[in-house]
């Protein structure tokens, strides 16, 4: 089953998001702060498939550090960053560092939950493909260096 970690210091945000993703059949863990999130990532035995993190928790760079922690643990973990509406600068920074995508939390007129379900699906798929590619590469017979 696809494992997801939600990192957000706002209880109601976490609860709403976890409920929606569980409805889709995902296995969802929650972390209520940046440090809790980092610990969860480091402590997981097979890594998370997708990490959804709030951008601004302890400070406005918290999301970037969660992204770094996740990629350090498993280079194929896909990270989706949640940002405040209109705060694109940090989101762009995350994209540069390899985030899968960013989603603005309160995008007017958009059902952000459906959007997130879609993004998580795409992220999970990209991870599966990446892992398959790696597996296929590993199946090639090893040739000794010339």
């Amino acid at each position: 089953m696809c494992r997801i970690l939600i990192v957000d210091d706002d209880d109601s945000v976490r609860v709403a998001l976890a409920r929606r993703l569980q409805r889709e059949g995902y296995d969802v863990d929650q972390a209520a702060s940046e440090s809790e999130g980092s610990r969860a990532i480091a402590g997981s035995d097979r890594g998370y498939d997708v990490v959804i993190t709030d951008m601004s928790m302890d400070d406005s760079e918290s999301g970037v550090r969660i992204l770094e922690a996740a990629v350090a643990r498993d280079v194929f973990t896909e990270v989706i960053v949640l940002t405040a509406y209109g705060n694109v600068a940090n989101a762009v920074e995350c994209m540069k560092r390899g985030a899968f995508d960013y989603v603005e939390k309160s995008l007017p007129g958009v059902d952000v939950f459906e959007l997130l379900v879609l993004k998580v699906e795409q992220a999970a798929q990209r991870r599966r493909q990446a892992l398959q590619t790696v597996r296929r590469l590993e199946q090639f017979p090893r040739t000794p260096p010339a």
């Binding site: 706002d10 209880d11 109601s12 609860v15 929606r20 705060n87 309160s106 952000v112 939950f113």
Partner: protein
């Protein structure tokens, strides 16, 4: 003639010595006493004196005497106060020429009364730099002999008088320069424009002797010249008295950016006499200069002198006076530019703070909305799965729906709470002030918030005496209640003791507590002392590094709210010209100390005592 000089001690050697002394460093009084003695010695006079003009009153005051028979009573005599134009002093002062009378019993007006009986000859010379200048004073020698003084005596005494005039002029210039420098210094550090304008009229008064001085500034919205500071009778009309630009003499100065200097302002066609510092009968001289800043004329500084009490003693403002006033005005203009630039800096800092605030707020509100949308999304799902729109909800779905609705109701309530908090924060400084007893407010707050908390022990130390403050009772209650709630919600679970103390504290005692208390506002502040209210608990307290930080907006250890609570408290207390600080020992408990300036009434009760 050489023989004459020797006989009467008219030594030019001593004269040059005296003249040199004029530029020395000794006091003016000593110098003038020396000159009086020198004049007496050189002319063989019986006695002599120096009298100086009082420009504002129009009289002459004896400042140095020499020779025989002087008593304190003689020295207190004021000359030319009400004398007619015919007296010797009057003639010297009005013509600025020496007067030498060989026999006063013959040659002077019938109402002439010398200080001393038996005086026959009088030699009086003006103390003035030139005949055009206003006479600064008189050097006078007299003798019991008729025709005691010669042309040579006159020349000698005139040189002494001229030297005295030089020194007096130098003193004046030095005093003006010092005052201008002082003004420049003060204006550079004046905390605000109203303080600045008040100091301007005070310092200008010290430099230019005048009856009254008023400062008008052009209001930026109404474009009218509004009285901002004055020394005398117009005080009650500060901020209300105003001229149209172009109206009256003051308005003319503002419109044309030029000075006006007049002997009798009432005769000028531009004069309107709307706001008078002195009655038209008394008005002697008028001087007004424009205050210019980078944006052109921003105001007018005007000074007035009363009519001289002696008809021959002119009281007009001189060109030098005008120059001084223009210098003051240019400094004021520069200071106003500075103050307005500073305003702009403060404004932009405030905008930056708003920017940060709106970012924080939008994040917080964004989260609430996100959660609401989540509940809505789920609700749609639950209802959808239930089947067609008219199908009945089964009991299980009904419970889900009720749960989600509860969640949404909670979400909306939290949004409202945040808006309320935000509004309180923004409006913390908008107060409806009235006389309030701070002790009573504490009592009410405790009564409102405490009965519901039976896990905590409450200690209230309120004396019998009232703590009269000018306050917005509702806002003050809000601030105190926040401090109580803050302690209580954190400690409720494990219990503990909460202590509230309110008492009177003198200004000195408050200062000694190391609080950065705001400067006294007029009529209040340290003179009357402070209401000192302390909220203490025995919880974990506040770590040293957080003592200042907790008062900043958006800092919170609680999961609810926006973290504006203590920022609102500080905002309210500071708007009351008070101060608040957390002074507890980390690990032993939090301790919030509030200081509010008491109003002056009730000062009869002994300070520093109380509960």
């Amino acid at each position: 003639m050489g023989e004459d000089l020797t006989r009467s001690n008219l030594s030019f050697k001593t004269l040059s010595k005296y003249a040199r002394r004029a530029v020395g460093t000794g006091s003016v009084r000593d110098l003038l006493s020396d000159y009086a003695r020198a004049a007496v010695a050189a002319t063989g006079a019986l006695r002599g004196f120096v009298a100086l003009a009082e420009f504002d009153a129009g009289g002459l005051v004896i400042v140095a005497t020499a020779g025989a028979d002087w008593t304190e009573e003689h020295r207190r005599n004021r000359l030319a106060d009400r004398d007619g134009a015919g007296t010797i002093t009057a003639r010297v002062a009005s013509t600025c020429r020496p007067v030498c009378v060989g026999d006063v019993t013959q040659a002077v007006a019938p109402d002439y009364r010398p200080f001393f009986p038996g005086v026959r000859s009088v030699l009086a010379v003006p103390i003035a730099l030139d005949a055009e200048e206003r006479v600064r004073g008189i050097l006078n020698v007299e003798s019991d002999h008729a025709d005691a003084f010669t042309r040579e005596h006159e020349a000698y005494v005139s040189v002494l008088a001229y030297s005295a005039a030089l020194r007096l002029a130098a003193e004046d210039l030095r005093a003006r320069e010092a005052a201008l420098v002082q003004m420049g210094r003060e204006l550079a550090v004046a905390p605000d424009i109203s303080h600045l304008t008040r100091r301007v009229v005070e310092i200008a008064g010290d430099i230019l002797r005048f009856e009254d001085c008023s400062l008008f500034l052009i209001d930026r919205t109404s474009r009218r010249l509004v009285l901002k500071a004055t020394r005398g009778s117009l005080r009650d009309q500060v901020s209300s008295a105003s001229y149209e630009v172009g109206e009256g003499l003051t308005g003319w100065v503002a419109e044309h950016g030029k000075s006006v200097r007049l002997g009798s302002p009432d005769e000028d066609p531009r004069h309107k006499g709307l706001y008078r510092e002195i009655t038209p009968v008394e008005a002697g001289a008028f001087l007004a200069v424009p205050i210019k800043s980078m944006d052109g004329v921003v105001g007018v500084l005007r000074v007035l002198r009363r009519n001289s009490t002696s008809p021959w003693f002119p009281n007009d403002f001189t060109e030098a006076d005008e120059e001084v006033l223009a210098t003051i005005a240019s400094q004021v203009g520069a200071a106003i530019d500075n103050a307005r630039l500073l305003d702009r800096v403060v404004q932009s800092e405030r905008m930056a703070a708003w920017g940060e605030m709106s970012a924080m707020t939008s994040h917080q509100i964004g989260n609430r909305v996100f959660a609401l949308k989540g509940a809505l999304n789920e609700l749609e799902y639950v209802v959808d799965v239930a089947g067609p729109p008219d199908a009945p909800l089964d009991a299980l779905k009904r419970r889900d729906v009720a749960e989600l609705l509860g969640e949404m109701r909670d979400g909306v309530a939290r949004l409202e709470e945040m808006l309320g908090e935000f509004r309180d924060f923004v409006r913390a400084g908008a107060l409806a002030l009235a006389p309030v007893d701070a002790a009573e407010v504490v009592r009410e707050v405790v009564a409102d918030t405490f009965p519901r908390r039976d896990t905590m022990r409450l200690e209230v130390n309120l004396g019998d005496e009232s703590l009269p403050v000018q306050a917005d009772a509702v806002k003050l209650k809000r601030a105190f209640a926040e401090l109580v709630e803050n302690a209580v919600t954190m400690r409720e679970a494990e219990g503990g003791t909460f202590t509230v103390t309110a008492r009177r504290l003198t200004g000195e005692a408050a200062q000694q507590r190391g609080m950065a208390l705001p400067a006294p506002v007029s009529g209040r502040g340290p003179a009357a002392g402070y209401a000192h209210v302390v909220f203490e608990d025995d919880g974990p307290g506040v770590a040293e590094e957080n003592k200042e930080r907790i008062f900043q907006p958006f800092v919170t250890s609680r999961s609810r709210g926006m973290g504006l609570g203590l920022a609102i408290v500080r905002g309210i207390i500071e708007a009351h010209h008070g101060a608040i600080a957390e002074t507890g020992t980390p690990g032993k408990g939090a301790r919030f100390e509030v200081f509010l300036p008491l109003t002056a009434e009730n000062r009869g009760s002994p300070p520093g005592v109380g509960a």
